[in-house]
Assembly symmetry: C2
Homo-oligomer: 651 residues x 2
């Protein structure tokens, strides 16, 4: 019971980090070492560093010119120049030259009206120490140059060398090892082809990449099976090989095969089990005791789901490791972003909401991406992450919140925010746009064709992709625009003509040729959900063919995505279903083209002069994108890049 | 002439960078290579990457529990539970297990009221796909995963491996070599002891440290003498050894020994000579042509002064190199800071103003540091840099500007802003404070004792160091506080008693014992400027000894710092001068103690409960700091840490 309670009693990440800092003795745990100064950037000083030499070593000329005694020039005026004798009254100096004794000012060569080698004419007075760098102006020998616990920046290296410091005492880099666990995880070194229920282990490499950026000396082990004894040994090995921290990947939850906590309890004391963040909740933090043979070291149990692991690494592990060395905690830039969609959130838990964000007009609009802990691609697609506070029940549409940026702030101005129906041709476009001299990042929030139009109305998208077929008019998109975007003037540009067809098993064993075959006894359909564009398309074709839904076996079995339809076909749960070519291709299935539809980009005319939209349209106009789209298969580019007009249909 | 004109015609850094981007062909210049995915973090993709495997590979359980067919549970109610048969109606699953065919939902084990191995009781309905991760939910095989020109973040590595991508085509890292020049610069490898007019070469290592953080493969050469032919060869060698960019350190100005421009013109075309930023102005940017044997590569002439070099590296080189690979431009976090002192600036030139910055009350107060281009330590001491725009004539006291942060934003809350008279004991304090579990960074703006009191009045300092002696009352600081800080309630804490004395040559050849000796024929004094506390102290002692200034040879020769006084003694320009022990120690001179003065910390009582001040006082109260101060020599710690009262004098 106790175990369960502690887990349920989740705490904020800040407290989790504080608990670790409170029990770890960083001065005892992390030793110091001597390194050459010119290799010490990023390292943390182990003690104070005092200057050995002064800089400059002597009063020296800060300009090319002549060195003088200021008081000999005081009388100089434009109309009554003063003449100085070479050697006694002035000496030529270059920048950096030591100032001759008795001289206390430098006059820039440009301001010297020279008469001859022996004499110089001055038409303005020089003040004492003018253009002179004085001894110790920058660095005074024996003085403190850098204090202890200072992470050395590039400039610090320059200062240290200038002060004659050629080696420095620094704190060791923290050493940490990542131990992935799980019977179902495959070692990526074997370049596996995962089967059902298997996953390729990757969290260890996400950790390795982070660790490199943190200045941590990191390593990892092959996946450890779900076995308490093996895990126990792996943790002890990690400690024995000199690591200050051992991170166990997965198994930190309270499930039947989660041994991490038990192992941690057998070699140390658990400080934290459960943080009040989603994803990331099942995070463990412990400190080793004598039983481990290496007391006082850090143990962290990172959740197995990739996004949960990232939150644990960024919010719990990173600050603790940074503190151990004395390095700066990694810190992300932030920005105020306006939410494009209402987003409820569970009270009591902070939530890491991944956002597709970009500037639209004066504000940065952010569309929430999928929220699953298992969806690592939401992080590859996001530009920002907003943490919805524990106290909050969610964020309203149009509400402005502070978000951490995953990209440089300036990049938000180069983002094209798309909301609407997603299509693979959009990915081809995204790829082309990244190749521009001023790259543009197309970020897409999948909300369906209607969702896209709604976003345009709300001003939360720069453009929207739509493939809405209207059986009445036999036209695409315009009838819906007329109905739902009355007050908005838009320009519609075609990206591609898309094929929808019947996804059938490889080799099309039942040789299905069209909708007519759907009435056959041996054919079982898998349908899309009501309202889906694809469902509307099917109904249209059935009607045209004079087929009643009742005559189609499986008509009432619904799926929600093209991929899910394809899966039904792959597993034999259905013998065919209507979908796009890409879904069939993804699962190696065959495809019987049935219908063609227009996938258009709907752009508010007000944005047509936005440089990003201009670049977008220029790119669509080129052959490169057409070639890329045709390469996908299942598309036609006869209309690509053309401005569409109502009633054009398929042109 | 042309040369001169181009140099005088300085341009903004943004235009300098744009000119380089306009002529460099990054796709031709930077090749691509294949690297293992798990070593590709930070690299830039050379082309689009498509997923090989889907993730999940199959519909799979997202929770530990039982897999069911949703419709078999719809009737379940708390009062009318539904019973399911094992095998046919439910199957036990762990997180990640593939969903058995026909099942489309998972019920968490916590919500299963199990009867026996054969039957499970459910008291609530499950909706279709509840707690199920569906095939391709995260990644769909064959779809675009990452576009070209994308710098891979840690999460991207996770996504790539999850999609079965084990190696990736990435763009080469940019290779750049730094060639330091100058007859006066010494190779740090030789661990030199610089003499007058010599400097230790360090810019190459500042470059190396930056380059590492930029992901650039950098190298450097030993210093090249000021000789056109040698420099010409060095540049060609740099290109021949495969570098995409050659950076020449120093010699980029228009002086008699500045050959960089001529060399660049002999192997390429100069695009920029002179940027409108101080420091940093004499920056050169060129592109090689056929004469170099390697056309289309980048040449940069970086100024020799360390701060100028840093501005050139950060503002010109970094953006160009980042663009060449396609990596994100290094970007600093910014903050709004309030200037503590009026700071005039030259119109037409942008100025990089280095700032000692920290939070005081609601705002971040920033005190300008010294502005010399040769003062690298201003960058080691600064927390922020504000760029005063070309158009501006300066910033007023109390004006708020945007500044780039050199430290994490959060660290500004852990900064103790000191303005006042600087003393080495303050450095000892700074070092101790960095050792705390929550380190505090003491930053100091040298403004003299009176300047410190003024800063307190203006609320632009957390505390001020002062050693103001009042001959009338024979007391320290309080008489001045009473006069100048009437409306402010302050607490005064002593940091140390400081010795002032006569700085004399090593061995004290003239055996000077005190002020009485200053009247001797053979003794020549070097004095401090009017108003200096040390000058006041000297006058006081002369008066007490009944000596008239007129009787002191050299009394009218003034210097502005302790160090400058010591230099006069070192060079024999004077036989003695009044100053602190540290100045004598720095130049290896002898010291004849003459007077003792109190160096106090003046703290507005309103700040006494600020956690930073509490920590400061706690630190002063400990023996560690006293030991450190005594170790310096020239100090006493009998009053250290004690609260001072008016009239206490030296206690």
């Amino acid at each position: 019971m106790a175990k369960r309670n502690i887990y349920l009693d989740t705490i904020p990440v800040e407290e989790a980090v504080a608990r670790a800092k409170a029990v770890l003795d960083r001065k005892a745990l992390i030793a110091s070492e001597t390194v050459p100064t010119h290799e010490a950037a990023g390292r943390v000083t182990a003690g104070p560093i005092f200057a050995r030499c002064s800089s400059p070593t002597f009063h020296s000329a800060a300009m090319d010119g002549i060195a003088v005694r200021a008081d000999t020039t005081f009388a100089a005026r434009e109309d009554r120049p003063v003449s100085l004798a070479h050697g006694t009254q002035f000496v030529f100096v270059n920048t950096g030259n030591p100032l001759p004794e008795g001289m206390n000012a430098v006059i820039m060569i440009e301001n010297v009206v020279q008469k001859d080698e022996a004499t110089a004419l001055i038409d303005a007075p020089a003040f004492p120490w003018q253009h002179v760098r004085r001894i110790g102006e920058d660095i005074v020998a024996t003085e403190l140059l850098i204090p202890q616990f200072r992470q050395l920046a590039p400039c610090d290296i320059g200062a240290l060398l200038s002060a004659g410091i050629y080696e420095v005492q620094v704190r060791e880099q923290v050493r940490a090892v990542f131990v992935p666990t799980g019977d179902e995880v495959l070692d990526f070194h074997d370049r596996p082809e995962p089967r059902a229920g298997q996953v390729i282990e990757s969290n260890s490499q996400v950790f390795m990449a982070y660790a490199a950026s943190w200045g941590v000396r990191a390593s990892f082990t092959p996946p450890v099976p779900d076995d308490e004894e093996t895990l126990h040994r792996a943790v002890l090995d990690g400690l024995a090989s000199g690591n200050h921290a051992v991170i166990v990947g997965a198994g930190s939850s309270a499930g039947s095969k989660d041994y991490t906590r038990r192992v941690f309890e057998s070699v140390g004391r658990v400080l934290v089990h459960g943080i009040s963040v989603m994803p990331g909740k099942p995070t463990l933090v412990a400190v080793t005791d004598e039983r481990s043979g290496h007391p006082g070291r850090l143990l962290v149990g990172a959740p197995g789901y990739p996004v949960s692991a990232v939150v644990c690494l960024e919010k719990v592990l990173a600050p603790i490791l940074a503190w151990l060395t004395g390095a700066a905690e990694p810190e992300r830039a932030t920005a105020q972003v306006t939410l494009a969609r209402k987003t409820p959130s569970k009270p009591g838990m902070r939530e890491a909401l991944r956002l597709a964000a970009g500037r639209i007009g004066g504000r940065i609009v952010a569309a929430p991406l999928a929220r699953g802990a298992g969806m690592i691609t939401t992080l590859t697609r996001a530009q920002a992450v907003a943490y919805i506070p524990e106290a909050s029940e969610g964020i309203d549409e149009g509400e402005t919140v502070t978000a951490e940026l995953l990209v440089p702030k300036t990049e938000l101005d180069r983002v094209l925010v798309h909301v609407g129906s997603h299509d693979n041709t959009l990915d081809m476009l995204a790829n082309e746009l990244m190749g521009l001299t001023q790259p543009l990042r197309l970020v897409s929030s999948h909300a369906g064709s209607m969702g896209g139009l709604t976003a345009l109305k709300a001003g939360s998208a720069l453009f929207a992709g739509a493939h809405l077929f209207d059986p009445e008019t036999d036209d695409f998109n315009f009838p819906f625009i007329a109905r739902y975007l009355k007050e908005l003037d838009v320009t519609v540009v075609n990206l591609a003509i898309r094929h929808q067809g019947l996804i059938v098993p490889k080799g099309n064993p039942l040789s299905i040729q069209g909708v007519e075959d759907l009435t056959r006894e041996d054919v079982r359909l898998i349908n899309r959900q009501r309202g889906a564009g694809t469902r509307i398309l099917l109904d249209h074709h059935l009607k045209t063919a004079g087929i009643a839904p009742a005559d189609v076996r499986g008509y009432d079995n619904e799926e929600f995505t093209h991929m899910a339809v394809a899966v039904n076909v792959l597993t034999g749960a259905a013998s065919c279903g209507l979908g796009i070519f890409a879904a069939a291709k993804a699962l190696g299935l065959d495809f019987v083209p049935l219908a063609r539809e227009r996938y258009d980009l709907v752009i508010p005319t007000a944005h047509m002069n936005d440089p990003r939209i201009t670049a977008l349209l220029a790119t669509i106009g080129q052959n490169a994108i057409k070639a890329a789209i045709n390469g996908l298969g299942g598309y036609e580019t006869s209309l690509t890049g053309q401005v569409m007009r109502p009633g054009m249909g398929l042109g």
